[in-house]
C-alpha cells in the first residue's frame, strides 16, 4: 500500500523549513541554523533527520562523508495538510472560521490585510 508521508512533527517541521528555505544541506548546517534559535545538541538534530529519512520526509545523498539532506516533500502540500488538520481538529472544517481567527489576530498586520484583499480579488476572478 502506498502510505502517504506523515505530517511532520514539530522538530521535523523546523528542519523542513530550513531545507525549504535554504536548499539541501548537511546536518551540521541545519544544526548551526537551529542553534541560532535555541539550545540543542548536534546528535539530536542528526537523529531527527535520520528518522525523517526513514519516514521519507527527506532524502539524503551519502556520496560524501557528510550526508546531504534534501526535503522530499513539497512545502505547499505539507502546509496545506497542517492547515487542513487544524481545520478538522478545531474549526469544524470551516476555512472561514479559521481565517477569521487569523485575521483577528494581533499579527495580522495591515500589510497582511492588504495582501489578503489582493488575493481575494484574484481568487474571485478565478473562482468557479
Amino acid at each position: 500500500m502506498p502510505r502517504r508521508t506523515p505530517v511532520p512533527s514539530n522538530a521535523e517541521l523546523a528542519i523542513l523549513l530550513i531545507l525549504w528555505r535554504e536548499g539541501p544541506q548537511t546536518v551540521r548546517a541545519v544544526y548551526d541554523s537551529l542553534r541560532r534559535e535555541r539550545d540543542i545538541g548536534y546528535t539530536t538534530v542528526l537523529k531527527t533527520m535520520q528518522l525523517m529519512a526513514a519516514k521519507k520526509l527527506v532524502t539524503r545523498d551519502e556520496s560524501e562523508r557528510s550526508h546531504v539532506y534534501r526535503a522530499a516533500v513539497a512545502e505547499k502540500s505539507i502546509k496545506r495538510r497542517l492547515v487542513s488538520d487544524l481545520l478538522d481538529r478545531a474549526f469544524d472544517g470551516s476555512a472561514a472560521q479559521l481565517v477569521m481567527q487569523a485575521l483577528s489576530h494581533k499579527r495580522a498586520s495591515a500589510e497582511d490585510l492588504k495582501k489578503i484583499r489582493q488575493l481575494l480579488k484574484e481568487n474571485s476572478r478565478g473562482a468557479r
Copy 2:
C-alpha cells in the same frame, strides 16, 4: 507563578468543542457525543476529563453523583492560540501566508469566501 492554561491536546480539544457547543454536561453525555463519531471507551473519556480538570481546562460540579463538567477556557482564546501556534510553527508568523493556504484549500467554499470578504470589509473600516 500564574501558569497559563496549556494548549489542549487533541482528545482534550474534541471534548472542549462539545462543551462549548452544548454547554456543561456529564461524562456520559460527552461520551455519547464522541461515540457517535468514533469508537472509544467510557473510562477513556472520563480519564481525559479528569486530567482536563487537573489542568484547569474545565471545572466540575461534584454536587451530584454524576459530576457536571464545564469548559473553563474561552473558545476564542483557545482557538486563537491554536492559530497562533500554527503561525509560529509553520508560517513564520505571517497570517497572510496562513490565510492564503486556507483560502486555496478545497474546503474554502464559495460561501466561505463570501463571508471572508464581508469580514475584510468590516475589518478595513475598523482598522487602525
